[in-house]
Each structure stands twice: as C-alpha cells, then as structure tokens.
C-alpha cells in the first residue's frame, strides 16, 4: 500500500503547490507555514478535491479518512451518542475511553473545542482506516491528550499522514516540509 504523487500540482485561492512524492506505510509528518497548502493537500489525499495537474494514485488504499482541522465541520449527529454512531463505529469503545470521551446525549456543539477534537480523534481511530490523514490533530488538545495521540499514531498500521505545526509532541516517522510551494522530504 502506498500513495504516489506524480508531478502533482494543486491550485487554490491564489497559491500553487507542487509535489513529487511517495508515501509508504508508516507515519509521515508534513509541516509548513500557514496558507502553504497543507489542508488542500490533505483534502486531495483523502480524495475530496482533485489535483490540477499530474497524478495522485492511492495504491491499495480502500478506506481513506481525513480528520479536518476544525472539528465542528465533521459534526453530523445531534448528540454525542449519535455522532459516534454516524462514524459507523460498532463496539470499539477503547479509543473513546483513551481520549476521555463521555458518551452521553449532550449536543456536540455544547462541547468545548478540545472535547470535540478528542471526540473526533476517538472516532477516526476507532474506524481504523488503512489511510488516516490528520490535519492539525494536536490543536486544542492538552498535554496528556497529545501524549495519547502520539502513541496511537506511532502504533497504527497502514499509512498515517500528519499535517501539523506541533514541535513538542511529534510522532516518529518521515519528515516532510512544504516550502516555496513545493513539498520536500527532509
């Protein structure tokens, strides 16, 4: 299983990002300045937006899942319980307790940004996708939740691509950087 970016160009909102890369199984950490195109690349890798030029090939990836930068975008359930169900999670409650999620009938929008982020993280890990793309997963998390997240990322199977500015809690893996509109392997 791997992702191939063959002379890929992504254009959106006045910027352009070029990428020639192969993401093998394991953890890949991608950093870059705000507005450098990280979220656009994340969206393209998840198959949500098409590339402007080149080829983006997802070899053997059957279930890509993207955790968006803002967890509010991903809420479709009217309660925490329904939100968990909306991810199609059956019985796999381990991740919910790891992230300290209280399963109840509260409106997800009444949760704090940090609580909502932990709920979404628990749901995407419980789905156990072969390709997991995390856009700024450390934002709004406290230190203990960041540690839990780092451990889970490092112990995952398949491909995990992490877009982050985080410098303290960083999972082990290949490092990539977006600079001057180009994706580089460090």
């Amino acid at each position: 299983m791997r992702i191939i970016l063959d002379s890929v160009t992504l254009c959106a909102g006045g910027f352009s990002l070029s990428a020639n890369a192969v993401f093998e199984e394991g953890v890949h950490l991608i950093s870059g300045r705000t507005g450098s195109g990280k979220s656009t690349l994340a969206s393209a890798l998840a198959g949500l937006t098409s590339v402007s030029t080149g080829n983006l090939i997802l070899e053997g990836c059957r279930s890509p899942v993207l955790l968006m930068q803002f967890p509010e975008y991903q809420v479709t359930g009217s309660s925490v319980t329904r939100e968990i169900s909306s991810w199609g999670i059956v019985g796999n409650k381990e991740f919910l307790s790891l992230f300290g999620v209280n399963v109840n009938d509260r409106d997800p929008f009444s949760l704090s940004r940090g609580e909502l982020k932990r709920l979404m993280l628990a749901c995407v890990f419980a789905r156990d996708p072969d390709l997991l793309i995390l856009d700024e997963p450390y934002a709004s998390l406290d230190s203990s939740a960041k540690d839990v997240l780092t451990t889970l990322i490092e112990n995952r199977r398949g491909i995990t691509i992490v877009f982050s500015h985080e410098v303290e809690h960083v999972p082990r893996g290949s490092r990539w950087k977006i600079a001057a509109g180009v994706l580089h392997c460090e």
């Binding site: 006045g14 969206s43 998840a46 949500l48 509010e72 975008y73 809420v75 479709t76 009217s78």
Partner: protein, 221 residues
C-alpha cells in the same frame, strides 16, 4: 485604511463598483418594466456578465436559484390570471444579482458607502456590509467542508442532515462574529472611522454602462 484593489485571491481588479451599480440599476429597471426588456437584458447578461458570474458561483446554484425564484410567481400568476411572464423578469433580476455579487471585491462596498454617506454613517454601513459579505462567503466555505465531512463518513446530504448542519453553520458564524466584535471593541470602535474610498474604473465598466444606457434609451425613453 485604503483599499488596494486586490481581490481575496491577490489579483488586482480594475473595476469601479459605482459604475457597476449604475449599470445594475439601469438594467434592473429595464428588465422589470417590460418582457422584451427582460429578454434584451438576458442577452446583455450572457455577453457581459455570465463569465464573471460563473467564475465565482456554481452554475448549478445560479441556474437552479434563478429558475426556481422565477418559476414560483409565474405559476401563481398563471392560476390567478396575472402576467405569466413576470417570472421571466424575476429570473433576469436574479441573474443580475448573482453577477453583481460575483463581481464584488474585498473593500469595494466599504468604499462605496463611505463615498456615498461619509465617514460616520457610511463607515458604519460599509463595515456592516463588508462583514455580511464576508460571513456569507465563509458560510459557503463551511458548508462545502461539511459536505466533505459527510463524504468521509460515507453519508449523503439529505434533509435529515439539515438541522445538525445548520446548527454547525450557526455555531461557526457566531464564533467568528464574537471574535470580530472582540477585535473591534479592543480597537476602541464605537461609531464611524477613517477610510479613504478608492476606485479603479476599467474599460469594461464603461463598456457595460454604455451598452446598458443605449438599451435603456432605445427601449424605454
């Protein structure tokens, strides 16, 4: 504060909102008063405005909204014995509205209001209008992200999803409004302010105004 004529994408835009507004008024009157006027304005829209409209707005949204908004009064008037072509006029007016909103550049409405009503009332009206335009654009972007989120979960958009998505849109909009009002309060904003309106009239503005003026003169005067 001086607007620099740049679009949100960073491109320089040579266009004057005052000329476009005058063109819009002429064409709106023309299309509203007669069916033949509406037909001529529709062709004007195809020649001068369709490209700008579809560059910023989805053709599906533009056509679906225009047809639905136009169809409703026509159907009602058909059964009540009124002018069935009234809907065609509304259809053209909606197309014009889409063109005008698609042609707006960041800071232009502020310039227009300050130019028209001065630094106090004009500034306040301009600020409110700019925030509203920005909020609408952000709601569009939020909605697009939410549709992507549904796709990630393997779900489809349906009426049953509307309440939770609407709640999300409301929550995000209120959060941004709270942030913006906090910034204004910290900067000591009470009412009015200093803003120098700047306009960048282009050849196409004059061309659109002249053609609209000729059509108006030929059909109405």
């Amino acid at each position: 504060m001086v607007p620099d004529g740049k679009s949100q994408q960073g491109f320089y835009i040579v266009s004057d909102i005052r000329i476009r507004l005058l063109t819009l008024v002429l064409l709106s009157v023309l299309s509203f008063v007669s069916t033949s006027g509406a037909a001529v304005v529709f062709f004007w829209w195809l020649v001068f405005a369709a490209k700008t409209t579809f560059a910023k707005k989805s053709w599906k949204v533009v056509l679906l909204t225009s047809v639905l908004v136009g169809l409703f009064p026509s159907v009602v008037l058909y059964f009540t014995g009124g002018d069935v072509f009234y809907g065609a006029k509304i259809f053209v007016l909606v197309l014009l509205a889409f063109w005008f909103s698609a042609s707006l550049v960041f800071g232009e409405v502020m310039s227009l209001f300050v130019w028209m009503f001065g630094k106090k009332t004009g500034f306040d009206l301009g600020l409110a209008a700019e925030f509203s335009i920005q909020a609408l654009s952000e709601i569009q972007s939020d909605f697009s992200h939410m549709k992507s989120a549904l796709k990630i979960k393997g779900q489809r958009f349906s009426v049953f999803r509307v309440p939770s998505l609407a709640m999300g849109l409301l929550f995000l909009s209120l959060g941004r409004s709270d942030f913006q009002s906090g910034i204004l309060a910290r900067r000591g904003y009470i009412s009015g302010g200093t803003f120098i309106p700047v306009f960048f009239p282009g050849k196409s503005d004059f061309l659109m105004l002249v053609t609209a003026g000729i059509l108006y003169a030929v059909l109405l005067v």
